[in-house]
């Protein structure tokens, strides 16, 4: 079982397919869950305190907006943990945790730099594309099981 970072990190489709085919999806929910279940200073709604953008300095310089750094404090550790990634590039309507285009660019760059196996796709627009989409994800994930490059 490989840890697979999903992009959009809030994607239902990717979260489902990765788990369905026997791997562990790494998405936004895991980062949020960790914060929601950790005692500390009260900072609703996401338990992201003003300390998080400071932690995000590990991934982005101080002149980068606080929202980007705060988000990177969630995603950075998940990306470091990931053994592979599946990317659906048009996340134009992924809100909230994925709602900042600058963060999204930085996540994609960090993933591509990391050297882990990556599958890049687009959302299916019809049934034929749906078939190809699922097939590609399945094949990629099966390749991870073999321990080889997908």
């Amino acid at each position: 079982m490989a840890k697979v970072f999903i992009y959009p990190a809030t994607s239902l489709i990717l979260s489902d397919l990765v788990a369905r085919f026997g791997h562990k999806p790494l998405g936004a929910a895991l980062g949020i869950r960790e914060r929601i279940q950790t005692a500390g200073v009260d900072s609703p709604p996401l338990q992201i305190t003003p300390e998080e953008p400071k932690r995000g300095l590990k991934y982005a310089a101080v002149e980068v907006p606080s929202g980007v750094r705060g988000r990177m404090a969630i995603y950075g550790p998940l990306i470091e943990e990931a053994e592979a990634a599946i990317i659906v590039t048009e996340a134009d309507f992924a809100f909230g945790c994925m709602g900042c285009a600058r963060t999204d660019e930085l996540i994609l760059f960090t993933l591509r730099q990391s050297g882990i196996p990556i599958l890049e796709l687009e959302y299916p627009r019809d049934e034929d594309e749906g078939i190809r989409f699922v097939a590609a994800v399945k094949k990629f994930l099966a390749g991870l099981e073999d321990g080889g490059e997908a």
Binding site: L46, E52, P53, S66, G67
Partner: protein, 411 residues
């Protein structure tokens, strides 16, 4: 009391760790923030209709929520627009929305760019102004002062008091703010003495400015209100322009306010002042360096040419250094005074006046409005004649006295 409902249109607040600060600021002024409810289809439609093709989904969400408010699908008493400081994409959206909403609805808007260091305290005055506008529309509609009232404006640099009687200013008092209560007492005594009245004659008191809560409690004030709404009211009252649109600029000792006013009520407004280089304080320091009184700085600046002095920093420290260097290099005090005025005006122009729509007349108020070199520089930048009403330095106190008359018993 029913809570004032402020619609929150933001991108990045939760991830900057400042959402709680927004909640807290709203709660402390009896308001609650909420997120206008919309569906995905609304977002797609709104983005297309608005015509601003941003990439960030949460900015699209802001646009759609703004449109839901303007179209009346969601009701609110005021709007808070906030995005991350230093994000260009978000700044464009924030700017366009704070223009779009008041132009197409009656909603008042406050906009702010936050960092992880933004606190509830910073947001408080802005939220308070939003709730005041929503809650006290009837009070803010007052155009005439009646009875005998007093207004006290406890600012960061100076404390001002004004006594008004039957729509006339009959007494004024002015003291540097040292100890907040003591300075207020002195200003109040002077104003009463000038008016030939005693404390017992006063029928209602209003307080504003930084020390408003402390002084308000001490004096038993009927009205304690933030300076954004009070100064707007005072400015249009003194300028004789109570109806229609106007712009109020108040360069204070510690922060600056730029307010776009409609019928005496703020539509959009900004408060700035992270840097002292854009404040009255810088002009005070310049006067000190030139060995003159602050009251002499304005006339001196009018005789000089600011362009003759190289000023390449807005910072109060480096800016002052530039002026000292210029003096050492042989620049005239007149030119240096003019350069200092231009520097402050330019900074306010670049950083704050871009955030509100400038509608004529432009009214300058507060103590710095007496520095004619500064008013001149602002007029040059805005390409308009800036109005400085009589008693402009007492703006907050006059506004407070005017509004306080709404609290006279039997009124």
């Amino acid at each position: 009391m029913k809570k004032v409902r402020i619609a929150q249109l933001t991108c990045g607040a939760e991830y900057s760790g400042v959402q709680k600060e927004i909640y807290d600021a709203a709660e402390s002024v009896g308001a609650e923030v909420f997120f206008p409810d919309i569906a995905l289809g609304d977002v797609e439609r709104a983005v297309k209709k608005f015509g601003l093709d941003v990439k960030s989904a949460d900015l699209k969400l802001m646009i759609a929520r703004a449109m839901a408010l303007v179209e009346g699908k969601v009701e609110a008493d005021g709007v808070f627009i906030g995005t991350c400081f230093r994000c260009a994409e978000a700044a464009i959206v924030r700017n366009e929305l704070r223009r779009y909403i008041p132009e197409n609805s009656k909603l008042s808007v406050v906009s702010y760019s936050f960092t992880e260091r933004t606190t509830a305290g910073t947001l408080l005055t802005r939220m308070e102004a939003l709730t005041t506008i929503a809650r006290r529309r009837a009070l803010l509609a007052r155009e005439e002062q009646t009875g005998i009232t007093m207004g006290v404006d406890s600012g960061s640099s100076t404390t001002k008091a004004v006594v008004m009687k039957d729509n006339e200013i009959v007494g004024t008092g002015w003291h540097p703010t040292t100890e907040v209560l003591k300075s207020a007492e002195s200003a109040v005594s002077d104003a009463l003495e000038m008016a030939g009245l005693t404390r017992e004659d006063i029928q209602a008191i209003g307080t504003t400015g930084y020390g408003r809560f402390l002084i308000g409690k001490h004096l038993g004030a009927e009205l304690i209100q933030e300076e954004l709404t009070v100064n707007s009211k005072g400015a249009v009252y003194l300028a004789g322009h109570q109806r229609g649109a106007s712009t109020v600029i108040d360069i204070g000792g510690m922060d600056n306010k730029a307010i776009s006013v409609i019928d005496g009520i703020p539509g959009t407004f900004t408060m700035g002042g992270i840097c002292a280089g854009a404040s009255g304080r810088f002009l005070e320091m310049t006067a000190k360096r030139l060995g003159i009184d602050i009251t002499e700085l304005g006339p001196l600046a009018m005789k000089g040419m600011g362009k003759n002095v190289p000023m390449n920093s807005y910072c109060i420290v480096f800016g002052t250094q530039s002026l000292v260097n210029a003096l050492a290099a042989g620049s005239s005090p007149e030119d240096v005074a003019a350069a200092a005025c231009h520097s402050v005006a330019e900074q306010v122009f670049e950083q704050q006046l871009q955030e509100v729509d400038i509608k004529e007349p432009v009214i300058m108020v507060g103590g710095t409005s007496l520095i004619e070199g500064l008013v001149y520089a602002m007029g040059q930048l805005l390409q308009t004649e800036v109005v400085v009403p009589p008693h402009s330095q007492y703006i907050g106190a006059v506004g407070a006295a005017l509004l306080a008359s709404g609290f006279i018993k039997g009124e």
